[in-house]
């Protein structure tokens, strides 16, 4: 059982929905980013998605792309991202960390070495945007063998025929992308999301978490009400990009988390 599985089991026992937050590792610099990360659990974050910077994030909007550029400009690397996770683990051994990014930096390091290093750093799961089920042999299967969860995105274009394929090697949770589009774009409508979540839950026992387009405590609550939890990324990263202080960022996160936990 990974920390992710344990966290969702605990939330289920408490009858609570999950709040998942995304930050880009090393944005705007290593120390600030680590300070924000360390403050997330106390602000109500149940699962941390830690972005791995990449020069060409083709599924992300400008907010996440700029965050990646800031991080890279400040010297962030895959190794420093793993170091950040390891530093976080020194004071928190329960909050799950999901590394989210693109395949090339991982492929470049070598899959086996990456999996060994990621496990040692306390990473619990992976979301790799450009690895669909058709490429499961690349990283998904080796990751599961190494004891890491491989979390898959399901989208509005994932129809019933395709859904089983997407769910087959997924573990930890399912991330439902509420819109066709990039991160930080249009707002999600709880009314549209509810039947989609039900459609996925009919085919899996895994928790279904919904992200993309959630920017306010109200939407966070509305979406969490119709799913097992909500993810917020761009709205938080926007504040970091505007140079807000660590406490200001964490206050904003607390509002979003409270929203999801009210659901």
């Amino acid at each position: 059982m990974t920390r992710i599985d344990a966290k969702f089991a605990a939330l289920k026992d408490q009858g609570k929905k999950a709040f998942v937050s995304y930050i880009m590792a090393g944005d705007p610099d290593y120390d600030t980013s680590l300070a924000i990360m360390q403050g997330l659990p106390a602000a109500g974050v149940d699962v941390i998605e830690l972005g791995l910077p990449f020069t060409d994030p083709m599924a992300d909007g400008p907010t996440i792309q700029l965050a990646g550029q800031r991080a890279l400009a400040a010297g962030q690397t895959l190794q420093k991202t793993l170091d950040m996770a390891a530093a976080f683990r020194k004071t928190d051994d329960t909050t799950p960390i999901v590394l989210m990014g693109y395949y090339n930096p991982i492929y470049n390091r070598g899959v086996d070495k990456f999996l060994t290093d990621a496990s040692a750093a306390g990473i619990d799961g992976l979301i790799v945007v450009d690895l669909p089920p058709e490429e499961d042999d690349e990283l998904c299967i080796p990751a599961q063998k190494a004891g890491l969860n491989f979390i898959r995105l399901a989208t509005p274009t994932t129809d019933d025929k395709r859904l089983p394929k997407v769910l087959t090697n997924t573990s930890g949770f399912v991330y439902y992308v509420s819109i066709t589009g990039i991160t930080g774009a249009a707002a999600a409508e709880a009314g549209d999301v509810a039947p989609e979540v039900a459609r996925i839950k009919a085919k899996t026992d895994l928790p279904v978490i919904v992200g993309f387009g959630i920017r306010t405590p109200e939407t966070s609550e509305a979406i969490a009400r119709v799913a097992d939890g909500a993810v917020v990324g761009s709205a938080i990263v926007d504040l970091i990009g505007k140079g807000k202080s660590v406490p200001e960022v964490l206050d904003f996160v607390r509002g979003l988390a409270d929203g999801a936990h009210r659901a």
Partner: protein, 411 residues
């Protein structure tokens, strides 16, 4: 026969879209169903005689195919060695090979009921070709172009606008061709129902590399027939320039199993391949990685971050290369070399002076390699080089590089 098939270089890609370890489908889940749909439609079209009849008709009457295979007599004499033939794809409508592929993809888009066409472009040749064919069929056309390229390729931007296309300057990332491709993919992921992404080269997720190759293979098929007619035998060497590699793949593919034909791809060496970041030679100076839906050789740093390429030729200015080239490189069926800006500029001028043909800067790279090897080859050695684009678009760049003030040339 079974042995021949087993040893063929023409059987790729496999069902996973792989050429050896290269290629594949590295895209987000949102795009995956679209790519599978495209693959199914393309498989249908490929064996449908009505599809190819429509292509042939347009190639003949709209593009002006077949393009001539021209014996460059004065260039041959000047170099004093191999006999040099130029495949004149610069004489196509819109002035480059790009339209061969665009026609195929747009006919496919129409068969799929798509009404909105998006494309990425670097120098603007693929954008112009896409805008042209969209105008012909009355389709909405949006072209993503790096803001930097919009500035340095103003005539092509105006052409696209005249043809009714919307040109979107891309400022994300560093505003180059790879960023234009990122933004086109972002558009596609957002507008999944009505939009067809018309990729301009033999890269991207499967089935694009194979599909674009198949549409461009008309170049090699014609060249083969033409050289057999002219010389009664196959060429000894075939040469083409490579950015993404579509004109080269188009020339090479029909010759892959003719084992006595030497195949050479020419990458953009920019200011020299030893100087980091100042070239676009993915095979010569890069290593395998994953970008834009496929695994292929890429220019990247130690951390797997993608580097910007540099070349005087905007059409070769891309940090990757089509996956089939990566495979041909690794199995040794084709050779790949790099040519610098300076060498390409010299070749550009030599063709103007010896043959009265102004070549684009892209094929000028291929020509520069011909100039290097031809003098040492025997006079009965036949070289076929793909002259894939004309150079009108490049005269301002060339003038600047040669230190010529264009404003002083009038009268």
């Amino acid at each position: 026969m079974a042995d021949d098939l087993f040893n063929s270089f023409m059987n790729g890609p496999d069902e996973k879209g792989r050429f050896g370890d290269f290629g594949g489908r590295f895209v987000s889940e949102t795009l995956m169903p679209l790519i599978l749909e495209l693959q199914a439609e393309y498989e249908k079209a490929k064996t449908d005689p009505t599809f190819w009849a429509e292509m042939d008709d347009l190639w003949t009457h709209y593009v002006g195919r077949p393009s001539p295979l021209y014996y460059a007599e004065r260039l041959t004499e000047h170099l004093g060695g191999a006999k040099i033939y130029l495949k004149r794809d610069e004489l196509n409508h819109t002035g480059a090979h790009k339209i061969n592929n665009v026609l195929g993809q747009i006919i496919l888009a129409r068969r799929m009921g798509k009404t909105r066409i998006i494309a990425e472009t670097g120098a603007g040749q693929h954008g112009v070709a896409t805008a042209t064919v969209c105008a012909k069929f009355g389709l909405q056309c949006i072209v993503y172009m790096g803001a930097h390229d919009v500035e340095r390729q103003a005539p092509n931007v105006f052409r696209m606008k005249l043809l009714g296309a919307e040109v979107v300057p891309v400022t994300s990332g560093r505003g180059t061709l790879k960023d234009a491709m990122n933004d086109a993919l972002r558009d596609w992921v957002t507008n999944v129902r009505d939009t067809f992404y018309c990729i301009g080269t033999v890269a991207g997720p499967h089935p694009y590399p194979a599909m674009v190759r198949d549409f461009q293979a008309i170049i090699g098929k014609e060249a083969k027939e033409q050289i057999l007619k002219a010389e009664g035998r196959l060429p000894d060497t075939i040469i083409a320039a490579i950015g993404g590699g579509s004109n080269a793949m188009g020339l090479f593919y029909p010759f892959l199993d003719d084992k006595d034909v030497r195949i050479i791809g020419v990458e953009a060496g920019g200011k020299g391949v030893d100087q980091k970041m100042e070239h676009c030679a993915s095979l010569t100076g890069g290593r395998p990685g994953v970008l834009h839906g496929n695994r292929t050789y890429l220019l990247q740093d130690d951390d797997g971050q993608i580097l910007e390429g540099y070349s005087i030729s905007a059409g070769l200015d891309y940090p990757g290369i089509g996956p089939e080239h990566s495979w041909l490189h690794d199995v040794g069926r084709a050779e790949y070399v790099a040519i610098t800006d300076a060498e390409a500029l010299e070749a550009f001028q030599l063709l103007c002076q010896t043959e009265g043909i102004i070549p684009a800067l892209e094929p000028s790279h291929a020509l520069a390699h011909v100039i290097k090897i031809a003098p040492d080859l025997p006079r009965d050695h036949l070289v076929v080089m793909n002259l894939c684009g004309r150079g009108d678009k490049d005269i301002f760049t060339v003038a600047k590089a040669l230190g010529t003030d264009m404003s002083g040339l009038s009268g």
